[in-house]
């Protein structure tokens, strides 16, 4: 295979901090090439240099043997390099077609040719095997998966030879991941090269032909997927071996009384939710994107409250009509989107960590304020001190700050919505053990994750959602097939919670 892309000796520093040094990367036509490494390893920076967002300080980039140096994303796209970045690059106010063609709208007689634009989009989608997405639909009304597809269609519409995908599945449920797989395969068939940045080992081994490993801004190795095992890969990424991916249940964790009980909970998005979480218990919420996982979390936390049914915390019935009330009742919610919903990015670590205490007189206290510092260090937060603005922290550390701000309030029930989305392996592992120790301290933990493996690996019980209802309940450690059976609605039945009392 001829080398489509050849990056040699790439170096980049921000304000004296060397982010990349002497990195080489070669991608051939029709190759799906994984770029892996912990956060801060420099993956995204390398990708952004390729995309023309940043310019390299050192090294050369060759495309089809021609030396190139992109100074603007437009230049990169003209040269056939398209990028699908982690945070969506779509405008909710515009239609799918308008988003797909944004920046290179087809023109007729000096004006934009909307007809051609819509037709082209429809064709492109069909070509990707997507038939349930209208070019004229407003992106603001689409599901996350459909937005992802729009993103990819956008990348393709620019006639790209090389498509960079940064964590493309971060926001997708497994079923949707399958769709993405199909897309990637089609691209490969077409001879399009894909540079695939991901933290999800399974995808890497399912999809990718080669793997390039970065660590601390340096090239570790570039190997054929066939020649390496997942464990080896992890080791070389993080430099230390992570034995089991999920830490075991801590000794002395006792399942106590019911701390959170939902009976017949329902609103516009979910219905007939019966769920109870006991002290020291980790209950997983599984289900496809849009099956109502997040909606349950938001209902419990009073963002879009239940309009039917009852909720009781520690046996006391509560009306959770606003987050304030939920917090007062001792509930905490680590939200799905930490940047938009979790953090005030321009404020210090300290300010963010104490936000919940500051905001709620009911939970505010000197002692709790005093404990924050210890809390942060117990989470292994890496920061230039607690006055550093959180916008400068890595995703993993940002997530730790979010967790800290909730633990500061010493909740009895904690809901974690996608706690490990888009954070590096090290931080993930840390969070897993934190979740375990929370259970050990007698908190009731409700865990939502699209990565089934997480739910299965951590939860004592798993409630599987389908179409806004609990399709069934399974014991921890069930197989993915069992879960998917409920999630896809192939199986459904009375929740057999009794059978799944944690042993």
């Amino acid at each position: 295979m001829s080398a489509l892309l050849a990056m040699r000796g790439i170096g980049k520093a921000f304000l004296g901090v060397q982010v990349l040094s002497a990195v080489n990367l070669t991608v051939s036509r029709g190759e799906v090439h994984a770029l892996v490494g912990e956060n801060g390893a420099g993956k995204s920076t390398l990708m952004k240099i390729l995309a023309g967002v940043h310019t390299a300080d050192a090294g050369t980039v060759e495309l089809d043997g021609r030396a190139v140096a992109f100074t603007h994303p437009a230049a990169a796209q003209k040269a056939g390099v398209a990028s699908v970045f982690q945070e969506f690059n779509l405008l909710p106010e515009l239609t799918v077609a308008e988003n797909v063609h944004l920046g290179h709208e087809p023109r007729r007689r000096g004006g934009i040719d909307r007809k051609a634009m819509n037709e082209a989009t429809a064709a492109a989608l069909a070509d990707l095997g997507v038939d349930d997405l209208a070019p004229t639909a407003k992106v603001g009304t689409l599901s996350v998966a459909h937005q992802q597809i729009t993103e990819i269609a956008k990348a393709l519409s620019q006639g790209a030879d090389l498509i960079c995908m940064d964590e493309p599945t971060a926001a997708l449920a497994d079923a949707e991941v399958a769709l993405l797989y199909r897309l990637v395969v089609r691209l490969r068939e077409r001879g399009v090269a894909v540079l695939y940045v991901s933290h999800r080992l399974r995808e890497i081994f399912d999809l990718c032909d080669r793997i390039t490993i970065l660590k601390d801004g340096r090239l570790v190795d570039s190997v054929a997927t066939a020649d390496i095992t997942p464990d080896e890969l992890v080791t070389r990424m993080v430099g230390r071996r992570i034995e089991a991916q999920f830490p075991p249940r801590l000794p002395g964790t006792e399942t106590g009384d019911v701390r959170l009980r939902i009976e017949g909970g329902g609103n516009d998005y979910v219905d007939g939710i019966d769920l109870e979480v006991r002290a020291g218990e980790i209950v997983g919420l599984a289900g496809l994107q849009g099956s109502g996982r997040t909606e349950i979390a938001e209902a419990v936390f009073g963002i879009t409250p239940f309009t039917r049914g009852t909720v009781a915390v520690d046996g006391r019935p509560v009306r959770l009509s606003r987050p304030r009330k939920a917090i007062a009742a001792g509930i905490a919610l680590v939200t799905e989107d930490r940047k938009a919903q979790g953090l005030a990015l321009h404020q210090s670590v300290k300010a963010n960590a104490r936000m919940v205490l500051d905001a709620n007189a009911r939970v505010h206290s000197r002692q709790r304020l005093g404990r924050i510092e210890g809390l942060l260090s117990s989470l292994d937060l890496v920061a230039r001190g607690d006055d550093q603005e959180v916008q400068f922290l890595s995703g993993g550390n940002q997530q730790k700050v979010v967790v800290a701000k909730w633990l500061a309030a010493e909740p009895g029930v904690i809901v974690l919505d996608e706690p490990t989305r888009g954070i590096d392996v090290g931080a993930k592992h840390k969070l897993y053990s934190v979740i375990r120790s929370l259970a050990a301290e007698g908190l009731a933990v409700l865990l939502i994750a699209s990565e089934l493996i997480e739910v299965i690996g951590l939860a004592d019980r798993i409630a599987v959602l389908h179409d806004g209802r609990i399709a069934g309940e399974l014991p921890g450690g069930s197989t993915e097939q069992e879960v998917m059976a409920y999630a896809t609605g192939r199986r459904s039945g009375p929740s057999d919670a009794e059978g799944s009392e944690p042993e």
Binding site: A51, V53, H72, P73, A74, Q77, K78, S83, F85, E87, F88, N89, L90, L91, P92, E93, L94, T95, E98, L102, G103, H104, E105, R107, G110, G111, I112, T136, K138, G140, T141, S143, V144, K154, Q158, T294, E298, I303, T304, D337, K339, A340, Q341
Partner: protein, 334 residues
């Protein structure tokens, strides 16, 4: 109607024209009770005339606001333009084309200066244009001690001629508005203004030269102010530095927002703005016909603006409230 998904936006614009109709009906009723007729030729002419000046300014303002920018210097630009026009014409009909060209050039340059300061120096639009406004003020006060120049009567026609009861100035304003609507909907740069206002990073990532778009918007805004200056010159028969004391920029912004364009950018359009301008004009005429105390006028204007915008806000609320998913996008913009 101004580009994007036809259905919802048409809804917004329709609402605004509905509001306009409402204001007209109420106004007419009020005037009628007062024993007058709002639709008497004199009043119609008055209304339409009043739309022209704010109209030109508001059209330009719409473009910059769509880009999530602002221009507080248009009043000064218009004043300067009126002087440039009048002094260049200097009573000679022959000089008119030159003067018009010169005005468009000067006002365009001012606009580009604004754009450059905002796009390249990263100065907040509010402060940047407030600053350029002050600079222009200083120049005007120092350079022109009051009215100067002389506009030949042939160009004064621009300010005074009417076809039927429709003043030519209003026709030109509508022509420019139409041009702007077409521009926003059918040219790339125009279309990209929605993207830049919606989310500048996304626009950039999509390969849009955002600074160029922003710059263009400001240049056009400046030129619209220039045309407004030409109109002032035509009506005054001379150029007047004092024109800037009337805070035209605030009228323009009010009109744009009344027209349903989001002050945060990315949503709205010129069609709405024209309606917004019309609403303000109708109010003025009604107040005049009804002999409302000048100070009561201010009170009513203020109240009307707030209420109207409150109504739109409510609608936008309903639409966005549906999808919590989009908290993410909002988060990035705010």
């Amino acid at each position: 109607m101004t580009a994007q998904t036809p259905r919802p936006r048409l809804g917004t614009t329709a609402l605004i024209y509905l509001a306009l109709a409402g204001v007209l009906v109420l106004g007419a009723a009020a005037v009628a009770m007062d024993g007058g007729n709002l639709f008497a030729t004199a009043n119609l002419v008055d209304m339409l005339t009043r739309t022209s000046l704010t109209g030109f300014l508001a059209i330009g303002m719409t473009l910059v606001i769509l880009c999530r920018s602002l221009d507080l210097s248009v009043g000064y630009t218009a004043a300067l333009s009126s002087l440039v026009a009048a002094t260049t014409m200097d009573g000679q009909a022959a000089n008119v084309p030159l003067a018009v060209a010169l005005v468009l050039l000067v006002s365009g340059l001012i606009g580009s200066a604004n754009g450059a300061i905002i796009a390249f120096l990263k100065v907040n639009p509010f402060i940047a244009t407030l600053g350029t406004g002050l600079i222009l003020k200083g120049y005007l006060d120092t350079q022109y001690k009051g009215p100067a120049g002389d506009v030949p009567s042939v160009f004064q026609q621009f300010g005074y001629t009417r076809i039927g009861f429709v003043p030519v100035s209003a026709l030109v304003m509508l022509a420019v508005a139409a041009a702007a609507v077409w521009y926003l909907r059918s040219t790339r740069t125009g279309h990209h203004m929605y993207a830049v206002g919606g989310d500048v990073e996304v626009a950039r990532m999509s390969g849009i030269r955002t600074t160029r778009v922003l710059l263009t918007a400001h240049v056009l805004c400046g030129m619209c102010a220039g045309i407004a200056g030409l109109l002032l010159a035509a009506r005054f028969g001379t150029g007047s530095a004092e024109a800037y004391t009337n805070l035209y920029e605030l009228d323009a912004i009010a009109a744009v927002v009344l027209g349903g364009t989001l002050l945060l950018g990315g949503k709205g359009g010129v069609a709405g703005t024209v309606a917004g301008v019309a609403i303000l004009a109708v109010l003025d005429t009604v107040f005049n016909v009804m002999q409302i105390d000048p100070f009561a006028k201010d009170v009513l204007r203020g109240a009307v603006i707030i209420t109207a915008v409150a109504l739109y806000a409510r609608r936008q609320l309903d639409r966005t409230a549906r999808r919590p998913r989009f908290a993410a996008t909002q988060g990035r913009q705010s």
